[in-house]
Symmetry: C2
DNA sequence: GAGTGGTCTAGACCACTAA
DNA sequence: TAGTGGTCTAGACCACTCC
């Protein structure tokens, strides 16, 4: 990899540096390779380490780099396409697929916010199932699935136990009941967020990690029966929304087309 | 707003600072209000300005703050829900809606990447329409819509003129032809990206602004007829994916539920 | 212990906005 | 011209990984 010589420009140094690094990465590095360390890169380009890091921050946000403390800065693998829809991901994941791993389940009175969102009276019991989505063995998303007690009347009233196998058993029990309702509609939104402490732990990422927050409303028989808030790792995920009946086409490397045009 | 006193913690200062600021913002500030300036905030919390800025960076990424050079740091308005689907946004935007504003149109041989994505021979002419999506008068997204010449054979062969009214006329002409094809399927993906120079200019944002990159494949009669790459402002947009036949429910403040639980 | 990225500091100067 | 956020520096120390 050549050495810097940042030509004077009206743009910030870190942005120009990013451009140079993008070119270098695309032409001279491949997935999994490690870049020279930050101190050396900074010296090579004649900038302060903080400035170099600003450029690397951008590239990490774009999913081009992965930085590992104690290891180095690696070229990231292309983002994994993650299908987001009931049909494709297998709902609710109990029998048809191993895509989701139930973690635990807590039953508690709904907060004002949650009650409003679910359209139930404040204080009604809500079962919250937490689960992880695995793709190719990697944790890609953490989800909190909120189900009003009134939507799953057949749920066995087992005593609530914290931790242990009973927890995830109960989670699966809720999912099973939900499955039997026959969910027939869903509405989603996607926005950018950052992982808070609990999510970050589940995702095995540091707090502040950018995530794509997918909020899904599930309906059965014309009634809202569940609300899911899923946080997908923004660095490694590309969410895909298929539509039945669409011709099968070659998956596109969006970034490539975007950069090229 | 009270003054700092950051209790000792195993977490980084900037992250704790973020937590404190979130609480403060939610309880003592409302949309449009300006925070004290960075130098004062840093002094008040007893940290360096760079550390304070790290916390503000997070809050800006979450869409809670907007920073304007020369003005100050403002509390951001809640994100705007932007429907993303052919039916809801009006396709292709020529007659049914004013949601999109055509900017220009260039016709050129397809790059290798683009040809691959469109499933056409490399070098075939592709019309690329650039347009902006407006929501409530605000520019929310910039899009490049790629249409192979072979998909719109009836397109009048007008001479290519750079700039001026003829440009956007031609853009509308392509859109009209595409409309007449009867698009009957679409497949999407959403991922995180940053605005490059051109996009940034169109979005009236600085380069590096985080965006949600939506890639859409349009099919007609079982054939891929167009590829759109849209970049939505991640700070102000919440993309919504509706489904016909779903019961109408109260829109959810996802962030609120997420934070509360 | 050596090497890596992560955090934090104290200061400087620049670009932009508004009065 | 004064005040704001944006950029950049040179250095320090910490937390983690691997040998």
């Amino acid at each position: 990899m050549g050495q810097g010589q940042l030509t004077a420009a009206p743009e910030p140094k870190y942005w120009h540096l990013r451009t140079v690094l993008v070119r270098t990465i695309d032409s001279e590095f491949s997935t999994g390779q490690v870049l020279p360390n930050e101190r050396e890169l900074a010296a090579r380009f004649g900038v302060a380490r903080a400035t170099l890091r600003q450029a690397l921050d951008q590239l990490e946000l774009e999913g081009r780099l992965v930085r590992r403390r104690g290891i180095g800065t690696l070229i990231a693998a292309p983002r994994v396409g993650v299908p987001v829809s009931r049909r494709e991901e297998g709902w609710p994941g109990t029998t048809r697929t191993q895509a989701w791993r139930a973690v635990d389940c807590v039953s508690a009175p709904a907060s004002a916010q949650l009650a409003l969102a679910l359209g139930i009276p404040p204080g009604e019991t809500v079962h919250t199932v937490r689960r992880l989505r695995l793709v190719q063995g990697q944790i890609m998303a953490a989800e909190s699935l909120h189900v009003p007690d009134s939507a799953v009347p057949l749920l066995p009233a087992v005593p609530h136990v914290v931790g242990g196998a009973a927890e995830s058993d109960r989670a699966r029990s809720v999912l099973r009941q939900l499955d039997r309702l026959g969910v027939d509609g869903e509405s989603r939104s996607v926005e950018l967020g950052v992982a808070e402490a609990k999510e970050a732990t589940l995702l095995e990422r540091p707090p502040g990690t950018p995530v794509l927050v997918v909020t899904t409303q599930y309906a059965a028989a014309g009634r809202l029966v569940a609300l899911a808030v899923s946080t997908y790792r923004a660095d490694t995920c590309k969410l895909t929304f298929g539509e039945t009946g669409l011709v099968e086409v070659t998956p596109v490397e969006a970034g490539a087309v975007r950069t090229a045009s």
